[in-house]
């Protein structure tokens, strides 16, 4: 919908409501019952209008104002502080109208809006802070028919009544009202049908599912099906009298079952084995037989691939689910710290394994909290540093090869490298000489050490660090690691690099001897160079391989000596192209990478294992991780600490 064309009408209608609110509230004396009803109406209308225009701040503020006016309408006395807070809300609404007029959006004032909302909430009588349950509708003698029936519908159905379970879609804004509409439909056809739990309970507990008791007669099945066509009705399930229990294989009966994630892993592993058997079978066949059975073999393979995708998609959820929660965290932090904060999110449509999603919540929340508390400066400090008063916290989700990169960045004060250096020496974590020699990245990494993180005074100097050891541990528990970068005065970026868990991945299989197989995701391997044609050369302290376009530094990771008959795999790494020397290169194939269990998961560069079509196990590595453990890249002083 093109909202721009409604803007003028929105402003003229909206300003009228705001003016009316102001007039009644500024009257000096507490508004009377009639006036309060009017006030409520203006706030309520404004809320609906603003929401329709996607003016989130305005609608939120109007909602808070409406809540307090609703309390007055229902009999509470308007106390002077509450009137004061309401007037401040009206001022704010006026400002928001101005902003909308100038910029056609109502963003940018959200921290001030939050402040006003907090004042409004503080002025609310305590018992009124929660949404009121429906109960008998206020102001009328009538009560919703279905709500007052005894709630015994969940009991065993007798001979004449069937049990009809109706479930409302999760996105429904008013599920209780929606269920009442369903109840009315049933009543129109079958007469009153008691529901359980009661409507009041449904409303209070925000339930989405109830059981109706419906007279079992002709047409009931048809009616249950027809209900499914109603707006927002997700599912109906009918249990006829005398039926022992719902038959789970009936389509549309079972909506969801909870299963252990491990069961899915077993399914995946089983499918992986099936693929192996298929490959073996194919290998046993003569070329003529292969030709003959080509159709069935390929069909089998296609089905297996689809099967994989199914299992995988069961485990995947959009990152946005987490993103929404984090956005709320930022809003809360903004109002708590009094710092205006903006939250930007990119890549939220990435789909992630659900266990991974759950386990990312805590470390990300932690990083966001750190950014808000320690990273982002006060509005006045930002202003004098020439930055916008509103701080930005940015969340980025992206895939890089088999890894998932989740970053939290802020445009705050950044990390003070020298302060960290000094503090590390003072804490006797490093000698003075060591601290001078240590590269910048390693210095920044120091703040993730427990000795650092737990000390407030150091945190405050370094500008960051509370509980970073916890974040680091959480990421490492996922088989990943924490990267960080910071420019003093400009901001800090934390990146959680985690394996994106089980997927069907194409790998290149190689090894250093005849027996053990290793694999790297083929997406990370740029080229394979035969060492016979591309000799190794020494450049300064580093070994490189030479090819037409120049030199590629060789990774120091070398479990076995590699002779001239070996190969160099050129890998894409975050630091550029690097070569890994290997003795043998076998095949490339699509496999399921399964995470290792303890204790193998402690080997940092193995991201998992895979069963090859030949029946062998392959240890899967990751080029990023290889880079990290490579002694030639940087002196790993941390381990000597």
């Amino acid at each position: 919908m093109d909202l721009q064309k409604y803007l003028e009408m929105y402003l003229s209608d909206g300003r009228e409501h705001v003016a009316a609110l102001r007039e009644a509230l500024e009257g000096g004396s507490a508004p009377g019952a009639e006036e309060v009803r009017e006030l409520f109406r203006h706030a309520h209308s404004l809320k609906g209008m603003a929401a329709s225009m996607n003016f989130e701040a305005t609608s939120r503020l109007a909602h808070s104002l409406e809540t307090i006016l609703g309390v007055w309408r229902d009999g509470a006395d308007p106390a002077p502080p509450a009137i004061e807070a309401s007037l401040r809300a009206v001022d704010m609404l006026d400002d928001l109208m101005d902003v909308v007029q100038a910029e056609m959006k109502d963003e940018g004032l959200s921290s001030r809006v939050d402040e006003v909302i907090i004042q409004l909430e503080a002025a609310l009588p305590e018992e009124a802070s929660a949404e009121k349950p429906a109960g008998p509708a206020p102001g009328t003698g009538e009560t919703p028919p279905a709500a007052t029936e005894p709630s015994d519908a969940s009991q065993e159905p007798d001979k004449e009544t069937a049990k009809l379970t109706v479930t409302i879609e999760p996105g429904s804004p008013l599920p209780a009202a929606r269920l009442l509409v369903v109840a009315q439909h049933l009543e129109a056809e079958f007469g009153p049908c008691p529901m359980a739990p009661s409507l009041a309970e449904v409303q209070q507990r925000a339930l989405r599912s109830v059981v109706f008791r419906v007279p079992a007669g002709p047409g009931i099945k048809e009616a249950a099906r027809a209900l499914r066509e109603l707006p927002e009705v997700e599912e109906t399930e009918l249990e006829m009298p005398g039926a022992p229990s719902p038959a789970p294989e009936k389509p549309g009966v079972v909506q969801s079952v909870r299963i252990r994630a491990a069961a899915l892993d077993d399914l995946l592993a089983g499918s992986s084995e099936l693929l192996y058997h298929l490959n073996r079978l194919e290998a046993e066949l003569s070329p003529a037989e292969q030709q003959e059975h080509h159709f069935w073999l390929e069909r089998h393979r296609a089905l297996l691939n689809r099967h994989f995708d199914h299992i995988l998609s069961i485990r995947l959820l959009p990152f946005d689910i987490l993103g929404q929660r984090l956005a709320r965290t930022v809003r809360e932090l903004s109002s708590r710290t009094g710092k205006p904060l903006k939250f930007e999110m990119t890549g939220a449509d990435q789909r992630l394994d659900r266990t991974l999603l759950e386990r990312l919540l805590d470390p990300l929340t932690h990083l966001i909290r750190n950014a808000a508390d320690h990273g982002i400066e006060s509005p006045s400090a930002r202003k004098s540093a020439g930055k916008p008063e509103e701080g930005t916290i940015a969340l980025t989700v992206q895939r890089e090869g088999e890894a998932l990169l989740v970053s939290i960045g802020d445009d705050g004060r950044g990390l003070d490298e020298n302060a960290i250096r000094e503090a590390a020496v003072k804490r006797e974590l490093l000698t003075d000489a060591q601290s001078k020699k240590l590269p910048r990245a390693k210095i920044l990494e120091l703040i993730t050490l427990p000795a650092f993180s737990t000390r407030r005074e150091v945190t405050d100097i370094s500008g960051r660090g509370v509980g970073l050891d916890v974040v680091r541990a959480a990421v490492e528990a996922l088989g990943g690691y924490l990267e960080m970068d910071s420019v003093q005065g400009q901001g800090t970026l934390f990146t959680l690099v985690v394996p994106s868990a089980v997927t069907l991945t194409s790998i290149l299989v190689f090894g250093w001897d005849r027996w053990t197989r290793y694999g790297l995701p083929t997406s990370q391997v740029r080229r394979i160079y035969a060492l016979a044609a591309h000799p190794l050369v020494r450049v300064g302290p580093r070994l490189c391989i030479q090819h037409d376009n120049g030199l590629i530094p060789v990774l120091g990771f070398r479990p076995r000596p590699v002779g001239r008959e070996g190969f160099a795999l050129s890998l894409d790494t975050p630091s550029g192209e690097r070569a890994l020397l290997v003795s043998r290169v076998f095949q490339s194939e699509r496999v399921v990478i399964l995470p290792w269990g303890a204790p193998l998961d402690m080997v940092p560069y193995w991201i998992g294992g895979a069963l090859l079509s030949t029946g062998e196990i392959s240890y899967i590595m990751d080029s990023r991780a290889l880079l990290r453990i490579d002694p030639a890249e940087e002196e790993n002083v941390l381990e000597t600490v």
Partner: protein, 122 residues
């Protein structure tokens, strides 16, 4: 033949939005608008629409009262309530009073049409 609709809302802005959604669908024809409950009851008598979209919170006579009045005189009238989110009690009261269904602001054209079509079919 498109269904005849009476739009009731105190905000001209909301009426315009609903009118556009209905008119653009081709399935509904807006035969009148009212800015409060009293006006709605009177216009219903003369226009006899197939459907009324009724805001709940309005000056003079609110939507629930207007819904009752209309149903008293016209038993089979189809009234669909429009409400901003957060006032579930009012919506429940409206449905108990005989409204056929409801839509919640902010609403999408798709959602509005789905609800109105369902009401017209029943």
């Amino acid at each position: 033949m498109p269904f005849k609709v009476l739009i009731v809302d105190d905000a001209m802005f909301m009426r315009a939005m609903i009118r556009d959604i209905l008119t653009n669908s081709g399935q509904f024809e807006v035969v009148g608008e009212a800015a409060n409950g009293q006006e709605a009851v009177e216009k219903f008598k003369t226009l006899t629409p197939d459907l009324v979209t009724m805001d709940i919170v309005m000056p003079q006579m609110d939507g629930i009262e207007a819904c009752r009045e209309i149903l008293k005189a016209h038993d089979g009238a189809r009234v669909v309530m429009c409400s901003a989110i957060g006032q579930e009690a009012l919506v429940i009261e409206s449905i108990a009073a005989g409204a056929k269904d409801f839509i919640v602001k902010p609403f999408s054209a798709e959602k509005v049409l789905k609800v109105l079509n369902a009401v017209m079919e029943s």
